[in-house]
């Protein structure tokens, strides 16, 4: 009986892995076509010229929530204001910060309270006031001061309420955007009226130099955890999301950077304040709304790195982040379970959600149980090692191939880094990632699931921020001893 069970389990795991590998191969092909196609499709200078002078160019609001960000707020807001787009505003939502985030902004940007007629189209925690700059240089800045809502979703909802343009970008205040980020994301919207959201690729800012809120060089991080995340993000954006985008089945537009149609998002109810994966849930809500009301929709991933964000730099912070993601994933399925295999929800219901349920939600469970069985069999002498080596080689070489492919896609799409040598670092990360990073991620996700199932108290993980210190005109990240904590 025991032997039968182990054989059965072994076969299940094997078929599962083969299914996963096959799906990745399909994704690689779909994403590759899309990357090469988009690279050649348009002249950038032509696009820019047309967008910059046309009266039909829609305005875009950049919305970012800020909670206890005093260390970096001024640089970050400057970075957001540095966009090249002809018609945009930056809406910073001070989510009841307890430090001097707001004071720093008031002082630096010469903000004063204005009698803004704030209309609550989406429910949020009480709004206090709106501030605008008396300085013409910062006329595009609007600061919404509100009570702490405990989540990023609440802050972004307040930003959506105060925004005045038909499209908005949801980003984090610590994110640094490429100067042409809006140009890149608005193009798909202009070329197809059905596009309701555009996702730009993201990577890590750890290791890059920042001067006056803009990146002066684009380098891969040196420390291992952010470096592993660079690889992870590349895989997610350049293969996963690019492929889903081709079949219009995007499950998620990252909360770090994404452009949305404001009207659709308001109609879908905005971000859910009690969600651990508010970005994924919001997109599902928006897609559900479109399906129910027969509104054609498209969600597009562009193969261009638009946003640099600070990655968790140690295991403790990574643990908090991934536990929250794990929780968010399971919570999303609990809330949107009715969409799975429901033909009413088109590709999302029939392909994307079942895939995510099977290959993303269950993956940590299967990996962990497989590992336990492997350890048991190893101790009881039940392993055929020559077979095990071959299977391990297969999985390892496939993982490495996937990493190589995403690196080449990144390079072809325009390269995230200034120098090619940075890819060598990422390649080194790819060699060690399956052994030293992936197991942790699996374990953290499982803890996230357990915390959700056993209803452990919900709280948003704290994110330790690093500030920027000025050295000879350049600003380089330094370790902050008295780390400021963030609840969002």
């Amino acid at each position: 009986m025991k032997e039968f069970l182990f054989t059965f389990f072994g076969n299940v795991v094997f078929f599962y892995s083969m299914g996963l590998i096959s799906s990745y191969i399909i994704m690689i092909i779909l994403a590759g076509r899309s990357v090469f196609k988009s690279r050649k499709s348009q002249l950038r200078s032509y696009d820019r010229e047309l967008i910059s002078k046309s009266p039909y160019t829609p305005g875009v609001s950049i919305i970012a929530g800020a909670y206890n960000e005093e260390k970096t707020i001024v640089d970050n807001v400057k970075s957001l204001l540095g966009q090249e787009y002809p018609l945009f505003e930056v809406v910073i939502v001070n989510d009841g910060s307890k430090d001097s985030t707001l004071e720093k902004m008031i002082e630096h940007f010469h903000l004063i309270e204005v009698p803004f007629d704030y209309v609550q189209k989406i429910y949020t925690r009480p709004f206090k006031r709106v501030l605008k700059s008396t300085d013409n240089e910062y006329s595009q800045l609007l600061v919404v001061d509100k009570e702490n809502g405990g989540t990023k979703a609440d802050a972004i909802n307040a930003g959506i309420n105060a925004a005045s343009f038909p499209y908005f970008i949801n980003t984090d205040v610590d994110c640094i955007l490429a100067q042409d980020a809006i140009y890149q994301c608005i193009a798909p919207i202009l070329k197809n009226r059905d596009v309701i959201a555009v996702s730009g690729a993201m990577t890590m800012s750890n290791g890059c130099n920042v001067v006056d809120g803009s990146l002066k060089n684009h380098r891969a991080p040196i420390s291992p955890i952010p470096l592993f995340q660079v690889l992870e993000y590349m895989r997610s954006f350049f293969v996963g999301k690019m492929a889903w985008s081709v079949i219009n089945g995007m499950p998620n537009v990252s909360g770090g950077y994404g452009m949305f149609n404001r009207e659709v998002i308001i109609s879908a109810g905005g971000y859910r304040g009690d969600s651990f994966a508010e970005d994924m849930e919001m997109l599902l809500d928006a897609e559900r709304y479109c399906c129910i009301f027969n509104r054609p929709y498209k969600v597009v991933q562009i193969p261009v790195t638009c946003c640099w964000t600070e990655a968790p730099s140690n295991l403790r912070i990574l643990y908090r982040q991934r536990v929250r993601w794990g929780r968010g994933l399971i919570q999303t399925f609990v809330r949107h379970g009715h969409m799975v295999l429901n033909p009413k929800y088109c590709i999302m219901g029939m392909i994307t959600l079942p895939y995510i349920l099977f290959f993303e939600l269950l993956a940590p469970l299967i990996e962990f149980s497989g590992f336990c069985v492997f350890v048991y069999l190893a101790f009881t002498g039940g392993i055929n090692w020559s077979v095990a080596y071959i299977i391990f080689t297969m999985l390892y070489t496939f993982g490495l191939t996937l990493s190589m492919v995403v690196m080449s896609y990144d390079y072809v799409a325009g390269s995230t880094f200034d120098k090619k040598s940075n890819y060598f670092r990422v390649f080194i990360a790819a060699i060690f990632e399956p052994l030293f990073y992936h197991p942790f991620i699996t374990f953290f996700s499982l803890i996230g699931y357990m915390k959700y199932l056993f209803n452990t108290q919900s709280s948003w993980g704290k994110m330790t921020r690093k500030g920027f210190a000025e050295i000879e005109g350049n600003k380089i990240p330094i370790k902050d001893e008295n780390a400021v904590t963030k609840k969002n």
Binding site: F14, L43, V114, P115, K132, S164, I390, M404
Partner: protein, 440 residues
Amino acid sequence: MYKEYIKRNKRITYLIIALLLIIWLVYKFLLSGNTDDNIGYVMPGTQYRDFNGFESWQYYIYFFENKFSGYPWVVKASLCVVTVVIILWLIAFTSLAVYVYKKFVRRRIYIKLRGLYYENLKKVMTAEEDLSMVTVNKMLNLERTSFLNVTYKLWFKLFRAIHVEFENSISVNNSINAAEVIGMMKYASEELSRGKVKEKIRLLQSVRQLYLPLPPGLLSRLINDNNERLLKQSRMYYCETNPENPYVVFDEDFFNENFHVWDQMEFHDTAEFFIKRHRKMPSFIPLIKDTKIPSIKSFLIREVGYWGQEEEVKEVMNFFDSKNIQCREAAYECMGYYKYEPSEEIMMKHYKDEKEETQRKILIALLKINSGKAEEFLRMACKTAESTFSMRVALYCLLNYSEKGKRYFYEMEKEASNEERRIFRHVEDPIINNAMLKQR
């Protein structure tokens, strides 16, 4: 000499290489080792056998099948995956290596091109007087008379870079002469005849951006191409450059359901091109009547406001009674863009019959027309506004309309309730309004 020959006769060179490869393969796989002496022959006293090419493949397949014959299917499947992965690696590496090499070469050529000709070309393109071809040739001081295709693409890049950098001081005539001297026009003609669709689109965008004229008749095939983007791009270019019946291309293939905002922007840009060159625009009214798609109808109605004649604007007023809300809204906006005073009264009459959103369009149109006769109406609109948003728009229009409007605004503010005063303060706040005006 030899290098030059290869560059000029690329296709013949490739053909020769391919032929040599085939001869080598035939020799290797069919002839070598396939003599009577050694077919299936193991040399005596040794384990050595000379395989021919096909036998080697058979051997490897046999080896692959039998080596793992005793292993479970799991291992065989894994090996298949590893094999696929290795093939993927090879493909990925090869294509990436080719890509990197091409990029490297292109970059090197561009740097060289820029170093050699940027200053000369800039002088030619920004010269105030019209230069003859001979003078342009002298000024450019070209090292050679023809270039590789890849170099021509980079020439276009260099032209675009200068065009973007010195947009306001570019001399179109001199740019055309420079392009002619370099041979870019000849290259463009060839590429548009034989190139790939994407290359054609990019090239058309380039020539439109640089206002370069292509030989007439070259686009006759492209304006009816299957590819919609190419079709639209070539039609835009066609009507910009063809004085003989240019607007024939604006038919239902052009204004179809895939006419997105991007196409609207390009169309608007083309219209601006005409206006700048004092060329007559086509009459929009027949186009509006011909199209059945409301979004295109409304777009063309708006365009009348930007570029149309007074008679056309007058005609557009008929759309105030249209059953389609998009067309009605566009018609009101059109009046605002054109600042057409005679439409004021009619718009005011229609105000009450319209939905709130459309009412706001009427108010903004009235503000843009600014005839000085609508203060009373705007005051009434403020008082009867059904929502705070509409009230805000009405108040904004009243405040910015005229001195009298401003007076009305402050009078109303005194009478307003506390709740309403919030809206008044929002509207009159200079910081909010300045930002709004600056951005709009």
